[in-house]
Subunit: 270 residues, 2 copies
């Protein structure tokens, strides 16, 4: 593989995944991944543009940012690209009234959306909210629609919390797709539209940007398909087999965000 | 389409699906589909061989047969081909110790199976047992195995109970497949092995047998792929769009089991 200088040449903007890169979520607000608070601060002090691009759909951005700030991170709501506000824009544009299969903590993001007489289903990481009854209700709404629309906030397979790996929204979306014989529309990584929003908000071209994430498919593969470079950190949900993934090859692996930032500050354009 | 006489010529054995064909399950033991008690009795009095081939995996055969007999059906446990006993045979043959994600009512079917220190997961229609916690436990067992084996008792998309349509095991299997990046082994319809067991138990060749079911993919498509003929009833989970399914074309549609039996008694070999 080429030297880091070559691989990072021309990078002007950095997209950071949050969970598994900055911290592992979990009971009591989660746990910082060592060195990442300082790494974010150094990155923001450098000339590089920074944006947080997350598939977090279990918490509102306000809750998420509150948790991160409590852990010492310098981050504000306006710096975060997350699926719920992007979904609200789409729902409004298309006159869709969702049945929400979402976590209570993210419901407030949909406060301005009409949910009466639903003509679509929006599914997000509902955690314990993924009960049989709630899944069946969403299924019944979809089966009752002539043209069923299922919108999924990300397609994550799983994520890591302090106590271990946890099922994410992707599997539950697959369950509804299979039961109803339909295909979901994905709002979030790895959807190209979602990465493009984040790039647009940051004001850099795909070829000038690099994604740093712990998900080999959602973060690394998704960003690369948009023309960006992507590094995988060996934290969060990273598993050694990811370094030999049959389809996705990261532009580089780093032990953690701190190492990624060291390399960027040495080699990227500032 | 050819006349019924031609379509049913040479039929000597009849495979009957249970739920949606004989009755709709539900609160208080479910509800008979009109005419089906008499239809089963007439079929059994004729010279045709009859076997009940079901993907029911939420109840033990004992419970299921008890429910059916209570509703007036002439059926015994030995006439039923169902996934749980077939699964037990496979588990024993391969020395597999399952983590069971199953309904409490079917757990007794696995009484003789060692479930300590699991090296596979068996998933069946768990109904309300499909909580987030139970799904996550099964997921974590699979992720902890070097060669994860997931055995699914059927791949049903949904079934009908008296109160409406209900999610079946198929979607939940898809969820685990996606989250773990694996493929499940299916024990039940539409697995060819399962249909072949039922044929062997009945002692007829595939070309001499006809399946009667309400599931266009699992019953009709599965049986046809084994060389059998198959009729779809317009009861249970049948939906009008099934008559124009993009991939599966039934050998005939009948309003209900009673009509199917009328036709068989007129045209099949006895």
């Amino acid at each position: 593989m080429a030297a880091w200088g070559e691989r990072l040449a021309g990078v002007r903007g950095v997209l950071l995944d949050i969970s598994g890169v900055l911290y592992d979520s979990g009971e009591g607000g989660g746990k910082v991944i060592a060195g990442s608070v300082e790494a974010v601060a150094r990155l923001k002090r450098s000339g590089l543009k920074v944006r947080f691009c997350t598939n977090e759909s279990q918490k509102s951005r306000r809750l998420l940012v509150g948790e991160l700030r409590h852990l010492g991170f310098d981050v504000s709501e306006s710096e975060v690209t997350a699926p719920p506000p992007a979904t609200c824009r789409i729902l409004k544009e298309r006159g869709l009234r969702p049945h929400l299969l979402v976590h209570d903590d993210v419901r407030s993001e949909f406060d301005e959306i009409d949910t009466s007489n639903p003509n679509c289903v929006v599914i997000a990481d509902a955690g314990e909210g993924f009960s049989y009854q709630n899944m069946n209700e969403a299924f019944q709404v979809l089966m009752g629609l002539e043209n069923p629309v299922l919108m999924s906030l990300g397609m994550g397979r799983y994520y890591k919390v302090t106590s271990g790996l946890m099922l994410d929204v992707g599997g539950y979306t697959k369950a509804l797709e299979y039961a109803c014989g339909i295909q979901a529309e994905v709002v979030g990584k790895p959807s190209p539209e979602f990465f493009k929003s984040a790039l647009w908000e940051m004001g850099v071209e795909a070829r000038q940007a690099i994604m740093i994430g712990d998900d080999i498919v959602g973060d690394v593969g998704g960003a690369q398909r948009c023309g960006m470079r992507a590094l995988q950190v060996r934290t969060g949900k990273f598993r050694p087999s990811d370094e030999h993934h049959p389809e996705v090859k990261a532009d580089g692996h780093v032990d953690n965000l701190a190492e990624a930032v060291d390399l960027l500050l040495q080699h990227a354009d500032k």
